[in-house]
Symmetry: C2
Subunit: 340 residues, 2 copies
DNA sequence: TGATTATTTGCAAACGTTTGCATTTTAAGG
DNA sequence: CCTTAAAATGCAAACGTTTGCAAATAATCA
């Protein structure tokens, strides 16, 4: 009822009510010290009383600033699975929080839905002031296009990739290394890497894995790297097939994500292979469910909360024409029951 | 570079380039049949060539329409846990898709972050055209306030609750009934209900549970309803405590969500209680991980995809001043390994 | 060809803010 | 009490679209 369009209260209306000019009301509501403190407060009170709210379309047009950030889930494949990856969605949640804290709102989108030219679609059109891309995808083409356009941009991914844009992400190489070393120290001799080494973040994890293997002088034959998509379903099938074909030729698995680890675990459990005694398994991410599994999943934790905070910081820097940079976050080994 | 503010191409600029008036370009870009087809196409081509894009702030101001829908996660408690509930986030993903299909964008928010007066904050301020609330929360106060304001609104929740707004949700009563009956037909005699009967959706599930128990003339004493928050952590603790205090006084669990079921399963497995032989357990939602657990979780599936589609439909109806209504969705029993 | 109608374009006024600058009011200083 | 400076307010012009209406152009018909 209060929203009936016919008589929606406007700044001018409020000004008339108060007997002052629109400029005064505008400044008062924006807490501009140009306006005397008392008038400011009384106008703010009046506004609240009539529950007036500024028309954002208008102020955005006038100020050329939206206070909106577009967050794009850069999904790898077309499966529904990947959009429901709890890790990605955790990042979105944390970003939402971090953005709100700074007075920004979150416009959600994903690479399947959004138009081709993200900068044009979101920035030139005044839909948002900046873009945060979650995940580098398989190709970085679209992201680079955004960077080229000069639009404020931060991406979640692997910060070691050479790029002309700011990338925030975990130390994936170190994560892979830590994970592998943990298995080695548990006595594993033939350790499988399960994941897609083509993908930026995953390839770093693979590097770390290889380094640890080499240092320990363990078997680093190709057959111990099992290329596999990021979904648990695919991991489940891959491990099933591999064991079927070659028997249990490994005693440890470094999985590229928790979801992948869970898929692998299921395949093993179905064959009555004991975890962690026959095979130790470690994941990556530390999603909420990791500790609910049986056995609870040992994993490399990514700190999404501070990641979100940092990404927002970097984006705000760009808004203010300050320097921006890639940031690499520390990772932490969370020891649970799936490894010895 | 193409985004440098100094010379951002505007409708007027494009018009000058083409040697026509702004109105013509505007209409052409909006594919208005008033404009001759050839000019329309050539102008569209010109726009693409200069990769021009309309300033949405301006058009929103002029048209009083944002083509944005605010989606509010109505979180129950303050734990971080609940924001990472994969079910909620699945719903968000599906909504995103359904909205995009209809030419709308998704502004994400949650009840912790958003201001008190949602209608004012999102609608009056021209941030969005309508609101979709996910979850009824513990109190429906805020939602009702939105409804009162007359703002376009659809909520995901229990469609049986009496309300003056459109609620879309599963047939929770039937779901609870089906779940319980499934356990009964598997031979369970003392079936525990695990969840929060205060909460709208959950209380319906509890009703269905009670009905099935009564029909089968089984034990329906109060001790078999274990009130418990919606997170798996709490469920884990509750089940642990209960078993510790009273032993294994049940042989089946109807859990109010998959996450709750998973928490319960963990508590039982730690005590070497066999699932499903000692205790059968059934969840609700059918999250992606349900089948990854060991044993794979039997559950009642909620069809979020069509739910999302329907919610958007109902909202669009309201935009067009057409009738809107609550819709109840069918649920489906997904039989897996956690029940006999 | 000229009158009449249908098609295609252009003019100019909104939409509701913000903000540089001019103006008024108040305070300070002599 | 007048001058000057400081503080508070108001005027009016943007911001970049869309759209009712008027005008121009093209098509139709007698």
């Amino acid at each position: 009822m209060s929203l009936s369009n016919e008589n929606k209260l406007t700044l001018a209306g409020l000004a008339k009510l108060a007997g002052v000019s629109t400029s005064t009301v505008s400044r008062a509501l924006n807490d501009n010290p140009l306006i005397k403190k008392e008038t400011r407060e009384s106008l703010q009170a009046l506004a609240k009383q009539h529950n007036f709210s500024l028309n954002r379309a208008a102020s955005r047009l006038r100020t050329q600033k939206t206070n909106v950030v577009a967050v794009i889930l850069n999904l790898i494949d077309d499966t529904d699975q990947s959009i429901s990856d709890p890790f990605l969605l955790k990042v979105v949640g944390d970003l939402n929080q971090a953005l709100n804290q700074k007075g920004y709102e979150l416009l959600l989108s994903n690479s399947h839905m959004a138009q081709d030219d993200w900068a044009n679609y979101f920035i030139s059109s005044s839909r948002a002031d900046g873009i945060i891309v979650i995940g580098q995808g398989k190709s970085t083409e679209q992201v680079e296009k955004v960077a080229m356009s000069g639009a404020p941009l931060v991406v979640w991914g692997d910060p070691n990739t050479k790029s002309n844009y700011a990338v925030v992400g975990s130390n994936n190489d170190l994560g892979g290394y830590k994970a592998t070393q943990h298995l080695i120290s548990g006595g594993c001799k033939r350790i499988l890497f399960l994941g897609d080494p083509e993908h930026a973040e995953m390839s770093e994890r693979h590097k770390g894995y290889s380094r640890a293997i080499k240092e320990a002088k363990l078997d680093n034959s190709n057959e111990l790297t099992l290329s596999c998509d990021i979904t648990s379903k695919v991991a489940y099938e891959k491990i099933g097939d591999a064991v079927l074909a070659k028997g249990l030729f490994f005693d440890g698995i470094v999985a590229t994500s928790d979801m992948v680890a869970l898929g692998a675990m299921k395949a093993l459990k179905e064959r009555y292979i004991n975890i962690p005694n026959d095979v130790s398994i470690i994941g990556f991410d530390d999603i909420a469910m990791a500790e609910l599994f049986h056995p609870a999943l040992t994993t490399i934790k990514q700190d999404t909360k501070s990641a979100a905070k940092i990404m927002v910081e970097q984006l705000l820097n760009q808004f203010n024409n300050q320097a921006t940079k890639s940031v690499v976050l520390d990772v932490e080994l969370i020891k649970r029951m799936s490894t010895r």
